[in-house]
Amino acid sequence: MKSLYVLSLLAVIMACQSSKDGSISPGAGVGGSMARFTVAGDMLYTVNNSSLQLYSIANSANPVKGNNIGLGFGVETIFPYGKNLFIGTQTGVYIFDITQPASPKKLALYQHIMSCDPVVAQGNLAFSTLRSGTACRNGGTVGANVLDVIDFTNPSAPKLLKSYPMQNPHGLGVDGNLLFVSEGDYGLKVLDITDPLNAKEIAWFKEIRTYDVIPNQKVLIVTGPDGLFQYSYANPKEITLLSKLPIE
């Protein structure tokens, strides 16, 4: 009986741990903000250019095709957080409720001008970068280069809290009060978002070109055309390079 208590206590602790980083999926890994595949619970969610395709992976070795949900055009990224899925498209961010994992319910489409835009979330805030550029539908002529902070306390009615100008933001990642933004050819920016309305730039690494980032357990993994870089942010005031896998 005692061991049962210990076991259930352990289960509670583990549940707390997994919810801390927004992961809702025991057994799943962690992807970046540019991902088009994500695992949440017993589902694999994939997006292609125009739709969301589900696969049931209750038996992980045997994925079974599930629902397909049309999303218009220019779908780019998918990010799971809590009971929500955030889907970045060239016209805005969709928020879906996945309380019923096999039947996601569309809650909102937070619209903006046409740009490429990955999105990550933490607490009641979503962070989305918008960038213009040749990889986006509109080339360099239309679009913007900004970081949007969106309040989704009410996920059916997301609100833009603040927009910060950026150089050419790509992927991004958030951990606690730190926000990491890949700035393409302009490097990597680290922002202190203790007050999300007044984010402060605490570091800007200009010497590497960056595409996507994953902050995970105080180690920041960065990829880009120069290779793969890992930094320790255990001390945010002194972010240090741990290793590098260069392009060969």
Partner: protein, 179 residues
Amino acid sequence: MQKHVPHRHHWLLAGLLALTGCYYDYADDRLSAKTGYRPVYASYAEVRQIQTLSPQPLKSPGKIYIKDKFLFINEIDKGIHVVDNTDPAKPVRISFIAIRGNRDIAVKDSILYADNAIDLVALNIANPRNVRVAKRIENSFPYSAYPPQTNVTFECADPAKGVVISWEKAELVDPKCFR
């Protein structure tokens, strides 16, 4: 203090409007232009071959994915570098999973999900040096039929000829596609 635009400017404006009106006619000329892009095909059987290789050099890294001590790095359109990242100061490449047309990765338990051109594959990575296909779901993704470049003329891709693995610049006879 010139408040009225002189009449000749109206003519200039009308002329400019007329020019933009001609734009769509020029589009036809562009379609019959000879230099453009031609799809390079590989057979479906070839593209569907998945192999585990020894570690390969990082050339064009795409997305990344973390699962426990492993780090997976997509090599754009070529496959996945499997890295033992137990010590982030000393990442060790342990194998390369060759998957044509691969861009995306997700993992649950010891199964890695990846796009293999138009198919979704579930790969058993329990032994990352000997990866096995657990399941393949064919035609899960749209057939890619466009060159990455925009504002170009190209020979329309034909799914019957195989999977488009790249685009080459070529002299084309009466190309029908434009992007």
